[in-house]
């Protein structure tokens, strides 16, 4: 049971930060930015590069996050703002195009092989009954820390209040003297930092390669949409739901249902399960579980 819970926790951590970043930026720029999953890959690769250049990993990671945040702002100003003028669907196709171009860049710069951070190997430690590695625990700590900082930022600072005001009613916020453009770009920067941190967390626990972005694309979107796109903390809840479903599907013995002693679904059905939940949830709640807003047509 503890092992199951820890599996869920680890998977939640995989998805949560990127989903939160996606959700945050959606609240101000109303299109689902697919390129965000590539910002995560960019974060882990940049951290690897900087570590290779001799920086200690924490410094390299921090620097990578800031750089990816800058990249996100740059792309937003040069590409997405212009595309959004033609509609959210066009902007989403545009973010897909950016995703492909970033993939091409990664492929040329880093090659198709998997890489790892240069980390000391630690023995597996037992927490209660679950087996965990130090790096997994680090990733959990990073995610929890980032979510707490984000929550404080959103609900305890002037910047956060301005963000929420702009997200709720841009015109009204502008009338009270909030610089919507500055706020938007701060949120875009923040989403880039969150995605990069999420990517580094993913790479801490295993390997990084150019497929990483596409692999987490749908689970991350499923988490963010379940949480109600635009609701940052909802995305964390969405990630928990997706992680639970995926872990359940691969860990539950379906044998008794069909009269055989043992029957486990192949592991690749885990992700299919999260997509299925997404589709089912959208049938019932077209805008996610934690959103009360209604859009017509």
């Amino acid at each position: 049971m503890v092992q199951f819970l820890s599996d869920v926790l680890i998977r939640t951590v995989d998805l949560a930060l990127i989903a939160v970043g996606l959700s945050c930026v959606y609240s101000l720029i109303r299109f689902p930015n697919i390129a965000l999953v590539q910002y995560a890959v960019a974060g882990s690769f940049l951290a690897l590069l900087l570590q290779g250049a001799g920086l200690p990993l924490p410094v390299a990671g921090l620097l990578a996050c800031l750089l990816v945040g800058g990249l996100a702002v740059l792309l937003n100003v040069t590409v997405f703002e212009r595309l959004l003028a033609s509609g959210s669907a066009i902007a989403m196709v545009g973010s897909l195009a950016v995703t492909m171009i970033l993939s091409a860049v990664f492929l040329v710069v880093f090659g198709p092989d998997s890489r790892r951070f240069d980390l000391d190997s630690h023995p597996v430690i037992r927490v209660l009954d679950a087996r965990l590695t130090v790096h997994q625990l680090t990733a959990v700590g990073l995610t929890a820390g980032a979510v707490i900082v984000l929550t404080l930022l959103l609900f305890r600072t002037t910047l956060g209040r301005s963000m929420r005001a702009t997200a709720t009613n841009r015109v009204l916020a502008a009338a009270t003297g909030i610089d919507a453009r500055l706020i938007t770009n701060s949120v875009v920067f923040l989403s880039g930092v969150l995605a990069a941190l999420g990517g580094i967390g993913l790479a801490l626990k295993g390997e990084m390669n150019i497929q990483l972005g596409m692999d987490v694309l749908l689970p991350v979107f499923a988490a963010a949409i379940l949480g109600g796109l635009g609701n940052a903390l909802g995305a964390v809840a969405g990630a928990v739901i997706i992680a639970t479903a995926e872990t359940l599907v691969t860990n539950v013995n379906l044998g008794p249902l069909v009269g055989e002693p043992l029957l486990f679904l192949p592991a690749s059905y885990a992700t299919a399960m999260s997509f299925l939940i997404l589709v089912a949830a959208l049938l019932v709640r077209p805008h996610g579980l934690f959103v009360s807003e209604v859009k017509r047509v």
Binding site: A89, V98, V279, P286
Partner: protein, 296 residues
């Protein structure tokens, strides 16, 4: 070289069919479908499953068509109350679920190895004529589908579709049944995509889950955006242009002596870069949509 040209032309015709069918959804009805390759997959697996069970090719075509129509109805049902971007993600998810299913259900689909040995169309003809006959068949079908799509979008029905795309609330207030208006183009384009899939399965003689990666859907998208959304001639032109460009990337690699990663990276750059460049600088594509046009 001549045979290679025939091969690329055949593939261009097949992708032309796919681009036409996606254009019916995206270009005219404004349905942002990111899972289009799954409708194609219904056609390929229809052919493959019929072949594996020795039911004959006609059964394969019917099976593929029926599966594609059902899937299109499922897409349409999902689209009833979803915003365009949510629907795009939902269709992408469904396509990935089906690909996962095709990869894992060995008894039905041959699993990751797929199903080999489907008979070539016109396989009995000698070498230059068999492929040429296939190409001719694909070209004729492409022309027929083009005529069908033109008929569909040029009349009052086409206007209704464009109204659905531009002003759904107005369409609803004028008494159009939006759900039905979404359903028909989806089913028709699903059938066209399934026919393309059936032809492809018998042309490639192999059907596997690798043919159904969502990257293929994005390739069709870039053909549409480059050629011109909402213009059937543009869709076909985009398909031919992209297909020929991509086919000659390996030659560039060899000529310049570049590593093999170059081919994959160059494909991504061409598809993504083409998409982005046209979205930014020439949104209407090479052949713009005709605004106004004939009223039937």
């Amino acid at each position: 070289m001549f045979e290679f040209l025939i091969h690329v032309s055949t593939m261009a015709c097949l992708f032309g069919l796919l681009a036409l069918s996606l254009n019916l959804q995206v270009g005219f009805a404004g349905l942002v479908n990111f899972g289009h390759i799954a409708l194609f997959g219904c056609g390929t697996y229809g052919a493959a499953i019929a072949f594996a069970n020795q039911w004959g090719p006609l059964a394969g075509l019917l099976l593929g068509g029926a599966a594609a129509a059902l899937l299109a109805l499922a897409f349409a049902r999902l689209g009833r109350n979803l915003g365009a971007d949510y629907w795009g993600i939902a269709t992408l998810s469904i396509a990935e679920i089906l690909r996962t299913f095709a990869t894992n259900e060995q008894w039905l689909t041959g699993g990751a190895q797929g199903i080999h040995g489907l008979p070539m169309l016109f396989g009995s003809l000698p070498t230059p004529w068999g492929p040429l006959a296939t190409l001719a068949l694909c070209a004729v079908l492409l022309a027929a589908c083009w005529a069908l799509c033109q008929r569909l979008v040029n009349g009052r029905y086409g206007l209704a579709l464009k109204l659905l795309r531009e002003e759904p609330q107005l369409a609803s207030s004028l008494g159009y049944d939006l759900a039905a208006l979404r359903r028909t183009p989806l089913v028709i384009s699903g059938l066209i995509a399934a026919v393309a899939g059936f032809l492809f399965a018998h042309y490639a003689t192999f059907v596997g889950p690798d043919q159904l990666y969502s990257a293929e859907t994005f390739l069709i998208w870039s053909m549409l955006i480059v050629g011109g959304l909402g213009n059937n001639l543009g869709a076909v032109a985009g398909a031919f242009l992209m297909q020929f460009l991509l086919a000659y990337v390996p030659f560039v690699k060899d000529a310049l002596g570049l590593p093999s990663e170059f081919v994959a990276a160059m494909r991504l750059t061409l598809v993504g870069g083409g998409l982005l460049a046209f979205l930014l600088w020439r949104t209407q594509g090479l052949i713009p949509e005709r605004i106004g046009g004939r009223h039937a």
